[in-house]
Symmetry: C2
Subunit: 416 residues, 2 copies
Amino acid sequence: MKKNLNPARGMRDFLPSEQKTRDYVERKIIDVYTRHGFHLIETPVVENIENLLGSQGGENLKLIYQILKRGNKLNLDQPNLTTDDIVELGLRYDLTIPLSRFYCNNRHDLPSLFKSIQVGNVFRAERSQKGRYRSFKQCDIDIIGNASIDSEIELLTVSAKALLSLEVSRFEIKINDRRILRDVILYCGFEHNEVENICITLDKLDKIGLSGIEKELRGKNYPDLAISKILKAMTSINQKGLPSLYELGVAENIISEIQKLVDTVNELSNGDYQAHYDFTLVRGMGYYTGPIFEIVYKDLGYSIAGGGRYDKMIGDFIGEDIPAVGFSIGFERLVNQLIEEGFNLSNTASLVLIYDDADSFVEVFSKADALRSKGHSVSIMPRAKKLNKQLSQLKAMGYNKFCVMSDLDDTIKSID
Amino acid sequence: MKKNLNPARGMRDFLPSEQKTRDYVERKIIDVYTRHGFHLIETPVVENIENLLGSQGGENLKLIYQILKRGNKLNLDQPNLTTDDIVELGLRYDLTIPLSRFYCNNRHDLPSLFKSIQVGNVFRAERSQKGRYRSFKQCDIDIIGNASIDSEIELLTVSAKALLSLEVSRFEIKINDRRILRDVILYCGFEHNEVENICITLDKLDKIGLSGIEKELRGKNYPDLAISKILKAMTSINQKGLPSLYELGVAENIISEIQKLVDTVNELSNGDYQAHYDFTLVRGMGYYTGPIFEIVYKDLGYSIAGGGRYDKMIGDFIGEDIPAVGFSIGFERLVNQLIEEGFNLSNTASLVLIYDDADSFVEVFSKADALRSKGHSVSIMPRAKKLNKQLSQLKAMGYNKFCVMSDLDDTIKSID
């Protein structure tokens, strides 16, 4: 079989310089989350296929990598073979389904109110395009066992702090609620079974504007009256904000809850960032049941974190609903943006100790250890035929200092 | 579809207390490796199936998780369907094949002598048994581009230092060489194509003893003379060590190279551990070409790290051999052993701030931040109906201190 040098389609190799940044960012986020009393857990990247296919992941269900059955369980000779006959496992497409299964499986060993951190790769066989990867990392925090809006406040505030710790500051928080979307859409005269499709259209406001939304809804032959009502509602919500929802069929307690969420997040932000209500925030997953939210780069318009409340998912596993809410930082976008802005860790000092065949390897090792004990990261390297070429390669790897074993004066030189 | 609460067969959920230890151990190993001039890289867990099936992974090739083709590429209606027709990707079974592909794919951006760190999960659909997992973590260091035995010395010494940094000390290093195994087996009169099978039998000395080996070889109908010669050779090597190999058909330069490896590792060990030559060390992978080695727990007899030289693998990808050698710490065994020995991180102070509905959430947050600024990890928790039950749950999670928002005196109490 011919071998292929490339990573699998849509997946990536990370070279040392990028991986160093990725590792730094990941540890920084975990550190902030840990200091706020969240606990690191780990779940497998592989899940039983029925848990994935039976989840409300919207479009993501079509993007699942499916793993073949093994041994006697795999029978390719049956008539009318379908993938269901030959598949038993799949790669997870998010961290929320595995977390819910984890919680249910281990709930007797976990506290009633559980705050988790999960950092790991998820897999979606997306159509390849710039900035879309088929394996990508998510950093999630979740609070399970608390129905209060306090949990949303905490997740948003702690995630914002994690970004601030990385000196990311030009972001804002958008907040909406699935119940508000549903109530307003029904109030305007659409049917229950149309709510999801209307949401998908509303989500496009940024891209196609109000007139584009009108065109799309008319194209789908919804009643004229409902269309004009929803357009009027959107204008009104855009101008008057949350209070306008009182006249659009939304329950008072929901409005005041979201008002409290927005206000408290802003109060805790110290002015470092702003949260506001956004009726056109929808989010793709089918499993959200209440508040939903995103952190968006102000200038760029794209989201770097998103989440929401999913009070019914645990009930899907154990038949008993347990409130849960989560927030996920899209690690890839965050790191790409940091690198684009010139984020650079290469000024951390690393040193190369160059030796040649005449040197005692034991002495080389001892000298390297002595330099390490002074705080340097030290790599030992045999001298290449062309020292200058070797030094320029090492410089490209982030080394800025070197010394040569046979030099008597022990000086550490800069790599220019 | 009925949902399943368990992780996929042979895979595991990691709860906070265990994950905390795992994370600590992983970071400690990475820290030692980084300070010694190795560079963290990352490769995807998914590889193109031809790279996995076309590799010399021995028995592991039968244990590969295979991922189904997608969309139009997947045709289940063909006659005489085989897995090759429907599979395009697989989960990696080690980190060495992905590293070789990575190196080939990125060699123009890497230095001629490259020292890498890879930490990640690998997947093998092993028969389930205690201590065998189907997804497990490996921590690898590799040196690519150096044919000298210096690289073996460095890998062994640095890996031993990583273990010492975790206060693991009751280990020893076993060293052998694939070329020695081959030369001795041929010298005793076996055929070229029998070498691999003889190795598999020799590997069992610990379990079945010399008489067991004799029985197994006779059962396979090898020539009597060859069998008596190999048994005599084993006794001789066991008594006289490396020098006995001069009389067993092994080239002088190989013997002196391995002698230098053993001696130098011992010289650099500071007496903290011992390395010795072991003719019955075989290791399973087919891709090793020279020295092979393991770190073994003395009392327990099982290996916690293993590796060797694989000078031909990169040539398999690009048609040009580049020397390479690697060493892999079996993370799961190491962590399990540490936990069994009572390794415990729960004495790191974490504090719970308990509040109730009457408290202002903004004030709760501010007080928690004030406590964090004094160095505590602080989790905020609403008061449960039964405070004592809540405190005992929190204690089980590793919390040892708490304070209550409404207490006027601000005292931090111990959780007993």
